[in-house]
C-alpha cells in the first residue's frame, strides 16, 4: 500500500517516504502538508501516524516560529540513489529510527539544515516581481554610482602590452624634471 502526493510517495509497508527522481530539495512545511494528507487518506487511515508537527506559532505579522517535523515509528525520508547533494530545509526534521530521519541512499549526500530558532517570514499582497522592482528603486542611487565607477575602470588600460608605453611616459617625465632642475 502506498500513497502519492507530489513529490512524495508514502510506502506504508516499508515506512519510507520516497521522493520523485530529480527532487533534491525538501521543504519541511511541504513535507508536513504531505504527511497530513497521507495519514488522512483511504490508504493511510488504517496505519499509525507518520509524523507530527510543531511550531508555526505567530510571532507577529507575517512571522512565525519555524516548523519541526518529527517522523514517528520507523518512518524515514529516502532520496533516490545518485551522485548529488540533497537538502532538507525550511524547518527542522527529526525522529526516525535511532533519531535518523533520512534513509541511506547510495551516492546521495543529504544535508539536513537544522536551527534552534528558525522562523518563517511570509508576505502577503505583494508579488515577487513587485518586491524586486521596489528593491531596485530603493537602490537606484547606489546602482548609478556603481555604474559610473564601472565606466571609469573600463577605461583603464587592461592589456599588459600597454605597460611599456606607460613606463616610457613616466621615464620621459622624470627626464624632463631632471633637465629642468
Amino acid at each position: 500500500m502506498s500513497y502519492y502526493v507530489a513529490p512524495f510517495t508514502f510506502d506504508f509497508q516499508t515506512s519510507l517516504i520516497g521522493l520523485d527522481s530529480g527532487v533534491v530539495d525538501v521543504d519541511c512545511n511541504v513535507l508536513y502538508d504531505a504527511i497530513k494528507l497521507a495519514q488522512w487518506s483511504e490508504e493511510g487511515i488504517i496505519y499509525d501516524r507518520i509524523g507530527k508537527g510543531s511550531g508555526l506559532n505567530d510571532l507577529g505579522p507575517g512571522v512565525q516560529v519555524g516548523i519541526t517535523v518529527e517522523l514517528l515509528g520507523s518512518w524515514q525520508l529516502k532520496f533516490p540513489a545518485g551522485n548529488y547533494v540533497a537538502r532538507v530545509a525550511g524547518g527542522n526534521l527529526i525522529g526516525g529510527p535511532g533519531g535518523d530521519p533520512i534513509a541511506y541512499s547510495a551516492g546521495v549526500q543529504a544535508l539536513l539544515i537544522q536551527s534552534a530558532n528558525s522562523t518563517v517570514v511570509t508576505t502577503s499582497g505583494t508579488s515577487a516581481e513587485d518586491l524586486a522592482i521596489a528593491v531596485r528603486a530603493e537602490l537606484t542611487p547606489e546602482l548609478t554610482e556603481v555604474g559610473q565607477i564601472k565606466a571609469k575602470t573600463d577605461n583603464l588600460p587592461a592589456s599588459p602590452a600597454s605597460q611599456p608605453k606607460v613606463q616610457e611616459a613616466v621615464d620621459a617625465a622624470k627626464l624632463a624634471v631632471a633637465l629642468s632642475a
Partner: protein, 287 residues
C-alpha cells in the same frame, strides 16, 4: 387504557394477515417458516398489540379471523397447541410471548428484544440484541475508522485468513467463521484495500458482492478485516449497527489532513457492550 373502546381504537395500528411467510429474525438461526404475520405500526407497543389481539378474540367479537368468527378463533394451525385464553400469545413481565406460527413486524426499537416467537417448526426464536457504535463531533471531510482492537491498542488487521482468490472476483471466502457481530453489510479491508460487501453467508464463510471486484490476487497470507466504520464522512456523526454477541474493544481513528481544517489525528480505544458504544472526536488543530 384497559378499556374495550381503547382496544378497538388500536385496529389502525395492528394488522393480522394469514399466510405463509419465511423470515430470518437475524438471531443466527436462519430463515424459518411462519404461518401468519402480525404487523404493528403507528408507534404501537407490544402491550397495545396484545390488548388488541385479545379484543379480536373476545367473547362478543364480531371479527372474522381466517374465516373463523373471532369469538371462536383458538389457534393458527391445527397442529399447534391451543391457548384458549390467549390465542395470539401471552404477555408477561413486559414480554410478549407470541403464539406459535406468528411472525411479528413493526416492533419499536425500544422493544426490539421484548418478545419471542415460535416458528412453524416449533423452535423458539428470540430476537437478537442490536448494538450501535457511534462517533460524533465530526465535520464533513473527516475520515473515520472504527475497527476491532487486537488487544494492544492496534487494529486487528489479520481478523480473517482469506481463501486464495483471483483478481476480478466479487466474493471472498475466509477460513474462520464470520463473527456473529459482523455488520450485515459494510466495508471489508482486503490486503489493506477498501472494498464494500453487500452481505455475507455465515455457512460458507463468504463475503458477497464485493465492490469493486478484487483488484489483485489474494493469498492466504494476506490480511483481511471488517471495520465497523470506515468512511469519509459528509456529516457530523457516523455509526454502525450490528448484532451484539459479546463485549469487545474497538480502536477509533478520526483524521482530517486537508488544508482548510486539519486536526491532530484522534485515536482512542472504546469498549463495546450490549449497549453499544459512543465517542466524540477531539478536534485539536494541527499545524
Amino acid at each position: 387504557l384497559l378499556t374495550e373502546a381503547h382496544a378497538a381504537a388500536l385496529s389502525s395500528k395492528v394488522t393480522v394477515t394469514f399466510g405463509d411467510t419465511t423470515q430470518d429474525l437475524g438471531n443466527g438461526n436462519g430463515s424459518k417458516l411462519y404461518k401468519g404475520t402480525i404487523a404493528l405500526s403507528g408507534g404501537c407497543t407490544l402491550q397495545e398489540a396484545y390488548q388488541y389481539l385479545q379484543y379480536l378474540t373476545r367473547e362478543s367479537s364480531s371479527a372474522t379471523l381466517n374465516s373463523i368468527p373471532g369469538w371462536r378463533y383458538r389457534v393458527l394451525n391445527s397442529a399447534y397447541t391451543e391457548i384458549p385464553s390467549a390465542p395470539f400469545g401471552t404477555f408477561a413481565g413486559g414480554t410478549f410471548f407470541v403464539a406459535q406460527g406468528w411472525w411479528l413486524t413493526g416492533v419499536l426499537v425500544a422493544e426490539s428484544t421484548k418478545y419471542q416467537l415460535i416458528a412453524h417448526d416449533g423452535t423458539t426464536q428470540v430476537p437478537p440484541t442490536f448494538a450501535t457504535i457511534s462517533v460524533g463531533n465530526l465535520v464533513s471531510g473527516d475520515r473515520v475508522l472504527v475497527a476491532r482492537d487486537d488487544g494492544t491498542g492496534n487494529i486487528l488487521k489479520d481478523e480473517y485468513t482469506p481463501v486464495a482468490a483471483s483478481s476480478g472476483a466479487t466474493s471472498l471466502q475466509v477460513v474462520e467463521s464470520i463473527k456473529a457481530d459482523t455488520p450485515a453489510s459494510g466495508v471489508i479491508r482486503i490486503k489493506g484495500k477498501r472494498y464494500t460487501y453487500a452481505s455475507y453467508t455465515a455457512g460458507t464463510k463468504t463475503f458477497n458482492t464485493l465492490s469493486p471486484a478484487l483488484v489483485e490476487n489474494i493469498v492466504a497470507g494476506d490480511d483481511v478485516f471488517v471495520p465497523y466504520v470506515d468512511v469519509a464522512t459528509t456529516t457530523t456523526s457516523e455509526s454502525a449497527s450490528f448484532t451484539y454477541s459479546s463485549n469487545f474493544n474497538c480502536r477509533v481513528d478520526v483524521r482530517n489532513g486537508s488544508g482548510v481544517s486539519p486536526i491532530i489525528p484522534f485515536t482512542t480505544t472504546i469498549s463495546v457492550t450490549s449497549a453499544g458504544a459512543s465517542v466524540n472526536a477531539s478536534r485539536n488543530l494541527d499545524v
